[in-house]
């Protein structure tokens, strides 16, 4: 893979994100009693994505929810793992959706999903098309770009300026949506690692028992979250 001078390589990106994981792991343990440090995402074997696609997912979600500042980023929350698992589940293959033709993928967006492609396929074709655009507009595929250029490229993608085929025009929408899902969903789906995202905003997860709190007005809720499988943070 050619790496233009001055741009961080994929390897250095992965190293950087692994470092952030370790760093924020300390911050997180103060609140969340995560037993073990998270296995590095580098060691994760994607079930759906190819190595190149996986590198894209790591890089893109790291821009959508960055690691800097307070709270976990997509990488610490292990959002990429969530997205990968969703791709091999019924969401990725659109099992619940009506996918019969004929398709009019270019229809008015208000009429909803009209692509013949299920989400997993939209990711596959979307990443390839977007990388090709990044190459011609920014001089390198997405993972090779500097963070500012990555943000600019994602902004173009969101605005519809990348000229994607109608079949994959919802690529950014589902990427962003799935990123937020992975950030906030119960940890059993692979994201929201250690419930850090819930701790960060103050959502108590599956506690689900607040009767006396209806009458406690304008008072902060003191307990940290629990997950469906019984983790506490």
């Amino acid at each position: 893979m050619n790496e233009p001078p001055g741009f961080p390589s994929r390897r250095s990106f992965l190293k950087a994100s692994a470092a952030t994981v370790a760093f924020s792991g300390i911050a997180a343990t103060a609140q969340a009693q995560t037993a073990e440090p998270p296995p590095p995402l580098e060691d994760y074997e994607p079930e759906y994505f190819t190595a190149e696609e996986w590198a894209f997912i790591l890089a893109a979600t790291a821009r959508l929810i960055p690691s800097d500042g307070e709270g976990p980023g997509a990488i610490e929350a292990r959002v990429p793992v969530f997205i990968d698992r969703q791709m091999v589940g019924d969401y990725g293959s659109a099992d619940d959706w009506y996918m019969e033709g004929p398709h009019d993928a270019a229809a008015d967006p208000l009429l909803g999903w009209q692509s013949p492609l299920p989400p997993a396929q939209v990711y596959r074709e979307g990443i390839a098309a977007f990388d090709a655009w990044c190459e011609s507009e920014h001089g390198g595929i997405f993972t090779e770009l500097a963070p500012d250029a990555q943000d600019a490229a994602l902004t173009s993608l969101q605005k519809g300026d990348v000229g994607l085929q109608p079949e994959i025009r919802d690529f950014f929408t589902i990427l962003l949506q799935n990123t937020k899902e992975g950030y906030f969903a119960d940890p059993m789906y692979g994201g929201n690692h250690g419930m850090q995202s819930w701790v960060y905003i103050g959502f108590p997860g599956a506690r689900a028992s607040f009767r006396e709190w209806a009458g406690r007005h304008d008072t902060p809720y003191p307990l940290g979250p629990v997950s469906i499988s019984g983790e506490r943070a």
Binding site: E70, D96, P102, A107, L110, G112, F203, G205, A206
Partner: protein
């Protein structure tokens, strides 16, 4: 060749709210009844058990309790000039599936219509004259009055187990309730739920402006409760997982908590799941139904179920689809105005304001689907339609109902949707936002209707139903009126940031964001067979042994959530079958 089952007295299509009500009431007559439900069986334990149910992704986002479009859907277009395209992914509305139907995962907001709404055409013409009714509006009176239905609204509220505060008992206005509601013969079976902070804040501001706040009537148990069928409910713990979820602790009104366990014990009642009814079979002369044909998912074959009475209780959209496929009623033609099946499809017109308070702590996860305080000061019977230039009204409500962060992360407009500023904003604002919603009426029009799609087919090879629907100026004007009244109230609360979300004049229907599952009309009640599919008892005009329940009966939608009227009408229909039809099967009108 379809397998043929043993004949029953009654076959019920769909086992949601109305199918359960009809099943229970007719089972009390000793009739042999079978209910056919296309989805799976669902019981509080184990299907809704804690903590598995507290899963936003699975149920809130991937909507796993709903009808998968792969199995059944429809097509949508905004006007006859467009080609309708399939509703491929659930968004705008979420039809239910499985035993309990949408009554399993509803919010529990339980309203009666206003008396004026039941006779809306008369109310409008008597007060302002025919001229104010837009040419394309199919404004009608229900062929049954509020006074006639009152005992049946009461019955449904007692069976379902509703918590609330009466405002008008037999004409006497009761402090703390809704002073604008129709009379009720007695109070709700349970006292109201305690209010959360946001709703108290809203109620105080509304009171200060001279409005009349009261607690929202909730299909959510505030105390321990046992209904007439011996079904027990336990008090709600404000877990914040109502809409789209089954209730794991017997607190939310549903067919499961109110009817089904008692019904399943009746020896003369049986039900079959994974049994999708494909069509109603008519006798040779077309004047009665002989039964229904369904697809038995396990045996992978079609089955004919003969019965003396057929009850279509499969939800508004599915009822209309089955009628169109079975030749029940003449399909409606918007060009000529002739025909009735699919006519007067209507929806709901909502808007609202979000408010952000840096210093206030709302704990949005403390809530339930029907939480909050309400005002009805802009209700249908409170607005001068002639002066304002629209027909309609809405109720306003404020109350936390879920703090689930994927679905309910309210951020000030202008916040980037990703990146560092988004990340900072979710921390800054989660728990510091509240909202007021306007839940408004929606009228029926000549253009909005349902028929069969010429192109797309379902997995059985049947044409999908086609929805032609767009917003009409009258209802958008109503919504803009609400905006103009709500903004000063919201401003009086001095939020740090506030933003309105009302549809603008000219707004097009968007199938993507969830709006409501308050789809109405399509087999409306009517005074004559030329106007609608069913008569005042929800009995099909052309085939007297077919009855149809649900919001398909609505002449136009009310300003409220539909189920109080849906449930009341189901009891009214059950009563007509029990007291008039069984002894002498015939057209009741």
């Amino acid at each position: 060749m379809a397998r043929e089952e043993k004949k029953k007295d009654v076959v019920i299509v769909g086992l949601g709210w109305t199918g359960s009500i009809i099943g229970m009431e007719l089972a009390q007559e000793g009739l042999e009844i079978v209910a056919l439900e296309r989805g799976e069986d669902r019981e509080t334990v184990p299907d809704f058990k804690y903590p598995n149910m507290i899963d936003e992704l699975r149920y809130g986002v991937r909507v796993k309790l709903m009808q998968p479009p792969a199995l059944q859907t429809l097509t949508v277009r905004r006007s006859a000039a467009e080609t309708a395209l399939p509703y491929r992914v659930l968004g705008s509305f979420l039809p239910g599936r499985g035993v309990g139907g949408a009554g399993t995962h509803w919010n529990g907001l339980n309203w009666r219509p206003m008396p004026e709404e039941m006779g809306l055409r008369s109310y409008v013409t008597e007060n302002w004259g025919e001229e104010i009714i837009p040419d394309d509006m199919l404004l009608g009176d229900y062929p049954v009055t509020y006074d006639e239905l009152e005992p049946f609204f009461d019955r449904f509220e007692r069976v379902a187990g509703i918590s609330g505060q009466a405002g008008n008992i037999n004409g006497r206005i009761v402090a703390g309730g809704n002073p604008f509601e129709g009379w009720r013969s007695r109070d709700y079976p349970m006292p109201p739920m305690p209010p959360t902070y946001d709703s108290t804040k809203f109620a105080d501001a509304a009171q200060a402006m001279g409005y009349h706040p009261f607690p929202a009537p909730a299909g959510i148990a505030s105390t321990a409760y046992v209904n007439e069928y011996g079904m027990q409910m336990g008090p709600c713990n404000f877990c914040g997982f109502c809409e789209r979820f089954g209730c794991y602790q017997y607190s939310k009104s549903s067919p499961q908590t109110a009817i089904l366990d008692a019904l399943k014990r009746k020896p003369n009642f049986s039900y079959r799941t994974h049994a999708e009814v494909l069509r109603v079979e008519l006798a040779e002369d077309g004047k009665t139904a002989t039964g229904v044909t369904y697809y038995d998912e396990s045996a992978q074959e079609e089955v004919f179920q003969p019965a003396d009475i057929v009850v279509l209780a499969s939800y508004q959209l599915n009822n209309v689809h089955l009628m169109l496929l079975s030749g029940i009623g003449q399909p409606y033609d918007p060009a000529t105005g002739e025909g009735v099946t699919g006519k007067s499809y209507a929806y709901q017109m909502n808007g609202g304001i979000s408010m952000f308070f840096k210093e206030d702590i709302f704990n949005p996860f403390v809530g339930h689907g029907s939480n909050g305080q309400v005002i009805d000061d802009f209700a249908i019977n409170q607005i001068d339609f002639g002066a304002e230039g629209f027909i309609g009204g809405s109720y306003w409500r404020s109350g936390t109902f879920n703090g689930q962060p994927i679905r309910s992360m309210s951020l000030p407009a202008g916040t980037p949707s990703w990146g560092p500023d988004w990340k900072a904003a979710i921390k800054e604002w989660y728990g510091h936002a509240m909202s007021i919603g306007s839940h408004g009426s929606h009228m029926a029009y000549k253009t909005n209707h349902l028929d069969l799609d010429p192109t797309y087919r379902d997995r059985h090879g049947r044409p999908l139903m086609r929805m032609t629907f767009n917003w009409n100026p009258n209802d958008l004007r109503m919504n803009q009126f609400m905006k103009s009244k709500m903004e000063p109230l919201a401003e009086s609360m001095t939020p740090d940031v506030m933003q309105s979300g009302f549809k603008d004049i000219g707004a097009q229907y968007d199938v993507r964001p969830y709006q409501t599952t308050h789809n109405t009309g399509g087999h409306i009640m009517s005074e004559s067979p030329a106007e609608g599919v069913v008569n005042r008892y929800s009995q099909v005009w052309g085939q007297h042994n077919i009855f149809a329940t649900g919001a398909g009966n609505f002449v136009q939608n009310t300003q409220y959530n539909p189920t109080g009227l849906v449930g009341g009408l189901a009891y009214w229909t059950a009563d007509a079958i029990r007291s008039q039809y069984l002894s002498n099967p015939r057209p009741l009108v």
